[in-house]
């Protein structure tokens, strides 16, 4: 979650905010935010500004105090334990798993059922199985990816001495799969 200060794009090489694009962008952005705040306050019965503030501030705190440190810790562990050619798929897999768990958190916990008592069409599915299935798909993709790397390494070893950097052969640049 970005703070508003980070949202303003700087088209300059330096980080100092300047230039027409910045100020026009800032004016538009601040205008949109002001419109949002006005709506938040004017429709306070529906928007519940205090609840909103809790989420607005809480999300930043959750990110800075929990999610970022955990990500850094896990990243450090992975960097230590997983050797180089295998690292990218493992990192991508962990990244995707974390996002799936974050998205699956509310249905897993059944948030929303309490305010929809008697409505069986709210959260009608088995979300434990669902999250497990999607995470399974992620690691299936990771497994295939690792297998491909292993195969290329093995082939790279077999053709060693052709003058190419073996590490580059073993870990070719490729975009992560989009599935």
């Amino acid at each position: 979650m970005s703070s508003s200060a980070e949202v303003e794009p700087s088209t300059e090489a330096s980080d100092a905010p300047s230039g027409v694009v910045f100020w026009v962008g800032a004016a538009i952005g601040i205008g949109i935010m002001a419109f949002g705040v006005r709506g938040l306050l004017e429709n306070s019965r529906a928007t519940q500004p205090m609840e909103f503030s809790k989420w607005f501030v809480g999300a930043d705190l959750l990110h800075d105090l929990v999610i970022a440190p955990v990500a850094i810790l896990v990243g450090a562990i992975v960097a230590r334990l997983v050797p180089r050619p295998w690292r990218l798929p493992v990192q991508a897999g962990l990244f995707a798993t974390a996002i799936v768990l974050a998205v699956g958190w509310a249905p897993l916990r059944g948030y929303g059922r309490a305010v929809a008592v008697g409505n069986d069409t709210v959260l009608p599915l088995d979300y434990s199985t669902a999250v497990a299935t999607v995470v399974g798909v992620v690691w299936l993709v990771v497994g295939v990816w690792l297998g491909t790397i292993a195969l290329r390494r093995w082939r790279g070893d077999a053709t060693a001495g052709d003058g190419r950097d073996p590490r580059r052969v073993s870990a070719p640049r490729r975009t992560p799969p989009t599935r």
Binding site: L88, V103, R179
Partner: protein
């Protein structure tokens, strides 16, 4: 895709480009497993979706139930009437049988909820424009429909003149040739094109011409 010769660090893992790739890939994955709540062909894949467009009474979801709206009794009452009032030359009142005796029309229309799910069904009932004609409303009339629901938001909704005169804007009695289930607005709900789901008002009891 160009390689970056200066960056052996790129092989370490998630550099910026690969990070963005991971964001894109994970977004695509999550979309695949949720889009079925509005994209019918992928509904079986909507594992993570909070709604399934094929789960609910009469085969589609409910936002607010009759019990939650407090209309379980009033919607089933023999005293139920639909009235057409306001700027009309003749105020009208119908019970359910009289509504069924009016010319019936069908339209295939979606309920598209701002929650993210949507479902398309075949609705049958009375055209709003037919009621306006019967009541002698002005051609530019704006219409407000009111629900039996007494409290909370969205108990009324406005129908602009274009929507009111659209042949597909109905006060529906049936969905897929069955009377509406209580949770879908029995005996009468508004359904029209180009309206958010929350404004397809259920349990309609009054049409006010303005």
């Amino acid at each position: 895709m160009t390689t970056n010769p200066a960056s052996s660090a790129a092989d370490d893992g998630l550099d910026r480009r690969r990070f963005l790739g991971a964001v894109f890939g994970t977004s695509a994955l999550l979309t695949l497993f949720t889009v079925g709540q509005t994209f019918w062909p992928l509904r079986k894949l909507a594992l993570l979706a909070p709604r399934r467009p094929d789960v609910g009474p009469q085969g589609f979801p409910v936002n607010r139930t009759a019990a939650a709206a407090g209309v379980s009794e009033s919607s089933m009452s023999p005293d139920y009437r639909l009235t057409v009032t306001g700027r009309v030359s003749e105020a009208l009142s119908f019970d359910v049988d009289q509504l069924r005796a009016l010319p019936q029309h069908s339209a295939v229309l979606p309920i598209a909820c701002v929650e993210g799910w949507s479902t398309t069904q075949r609705w049958t009932g009375v055209r709003v424009r037919d009621l306006l004609t019967m009541a002698g409303a002005a051609p530019d009339a704006r219409v407000r429909v009111e629900s039996l629901q007494q409290r909370r938001s969205y108990r009324t909704s406005d129908v602009n003149p274009w929507q009111a005169h659209d042949p597909d804007t109905l006060l529906a009695l049936d969905v897929n040739d069955e009377p509406l289930a209580p949770d879908h607005g029995y005996p009468l709900r508004l359904i029209g094109p180009n309206r958010p789901g929350v404004m397809q008002t259920k349990w309609v009891t009054r049409v006010v011409v303005r």
